[in-house]
Amino acid sequence: MHRFLDLTLNGVSSGMIYAAVALALVLIWRATRIVNFAQGAMLMFTTFIASWAIDRTGSYVVGFVVALAAGLVIGAIAERVLVRPVEGGPPLNAVIVTLGLLVLLEALAGMIWGNIPRSFPPAFTIRGFDVGGSRLLFSPFDLFTVGAVLVVAVGLGLFFTRTNLGLRLRASAFDPEVSRLLGVRVSRMLTLGWALAAAAGSLAGVLVAPAVELGPTNFDVVLVYGFTAAVLGGLDSPTGAVTGGVVLGLVLSYVSGYESSALVPLASLVLLIAVLMVRPGGLFSHAAARRV
């Protein structure tokens, strides 16, 4: 029972990181119908920037804020400079552009900060909580991880549904042409959408970095699981992204704990195929309704 609790808490905590990456992918997919293959590299880059800021100031909070701000900026620049020219073109062009950005950022990070992975500090201790004399596999940093992603996810949800700017963003994603006729400056909304998505990705980077260490290619696997979570959730639904992340985190944690950690990549593939066989559009798909 103790083990089950440990694995569950651990699964939720790593699931939240997948959820943040999935959220980043879903926001961009919804707005521009582009799968951002560079998301892993973008969050790697902003985590390096955060690491630099922590070294300079000695403050984790500054590094955390800098990471999110850098995400906003990199996301906006990526959309304006690289993605804008291929928007509305054949989907393959956008795929190649984001893959190009992935390679570019990984090479740049290697040139600037070196290719040898370095450690990245957690916000709080990663020593598990002591409950009733035994130690849980769930630390204050895990709690921080869960809390931070929840705050960002709920905050984004409220922003999208309760504010006028959020309404404009959603309208631009659903129907850009009609939105323009109603006076929405859709191109600005796309830039903002990329910026917000990249910031959500940056959050995941800072949260996962203590576990995977900081190196130019260390976050590739996070993108793979984030993408799995996004597809599980239907790729189109922010709620689905968060749910998909948690489900994936739990399943992988149980497989790793009860069977073997070597089975984790296989388990994520099996879960993905199983869900897509039952619900081809993902857990939270509205795809059928959209195409009418």
């Binding site: 006028n164 129907d175 009609v178 323009r180 006729l181 109603l182 006076g183 929405v184 309704a289 009418v292």
Partner: protein, 235 residues
């Protein structure tokens, strides 16, 4: 109000508009008629900025607006209700309405405009929190009309408002457009395949054929011209 001179619009090699000129006087209802593919929708899409013209000029109250972006043209008081109504199905009824007036940024005025839209279409108020995808065809038409009215436009471009509606509903929509003009002094450029019902409320009629103006007359004269009726209007 609106003046279009020698407008040419093409999609690739296909010329949708081949030198169209027309004037829409302030406060009038002008009906643009013609068969499928005559260029009616292209005319509206070019005026509202969705499509850039190859040549020609569009003037609104004397100012040249040719080639400007749709989000700028709507700010000059031009509301385009697109073909198929353009209701955003994923948003709620009220979100669709609010979206129409957002660019004005005047919160108090937006609230008044919303109340007026509900007064005009009480059916929408009952369904305000429902997704627009749950509305019937007639309700969708009301929603897109109400949404276009939110920023209090001077000129409304209406693309086939009766398309897909039952005849009774279609004539109700036409009567409503006429009433709006009476009440607010709105200028309307109305595109219709249903020539008879459009001419019943219009002050001016323009017939398009293959991207050119074939006739521009008083509606009664158009309706009386048997040759024109058979060739272009289908009644």
């Amino acid at each position: 109000m609106l003046e279009v001179v020698d407008l040419v619009t093409s999609y690739g090699a296909v010329r949708a508009l081949d030198g169209v000129s027309l004037t829409v006087p302030s406060g009038s209802i002008t009906a643009v008629l013609g068969a499928n593919g005559a260029g009616k929708s292209s005319l509206l899409r070019t005026i509202s900025g969705l499509v850039r013209p190859r040549a020609g000029t569009i003037r609104l109250d004397g100012a040249d607006i040719t080639g400007r972006a749709p989000e700028e043209i709507v700010r000059l008081g031009v509301a385009h209700v697109p073909e198929g109504r353009g209701v955003i199905a994923e948003l709620t009824v009220e979100e669709n309405l609010r979206l129409g007036g957002l660019w004005r940024r005047d919160r108090a005025d937006q609230a008044t405009a919303l109340a007026e839209a509900y007064e005009l279409f009480p059916a929408l108020e009952e369904r305000r929190r429902r997704p627009a995808s749950t509305l019937s065809g007639g309700e969708r038409q009301m929603l897109s009309l109400g949404r276009a009215l939110m920023p209090r436009p001077k000129l409304m471009l209406l693309d086939e408002p009766s398309l897909g509606l039952a005849p009774l509903l279609a004539s109700r929509i036409m009567a409503l457009v006429a009433r709006l003009r009476e009440r607010t002094g709105l200028t309307v450029l109305l595109v219709e395949q249903n020539a008879r019902s459009a001419l019943s409320i219009a002050d001016h009629g323009v017939v398009l054929g293959l991207g050119r103006v074939v006739a521009a007359e008083h509606p009664d004269k158009l309706a009386a011209d048997a040759g024109l009726r058979h060739a272009y209007l289908g009644f």
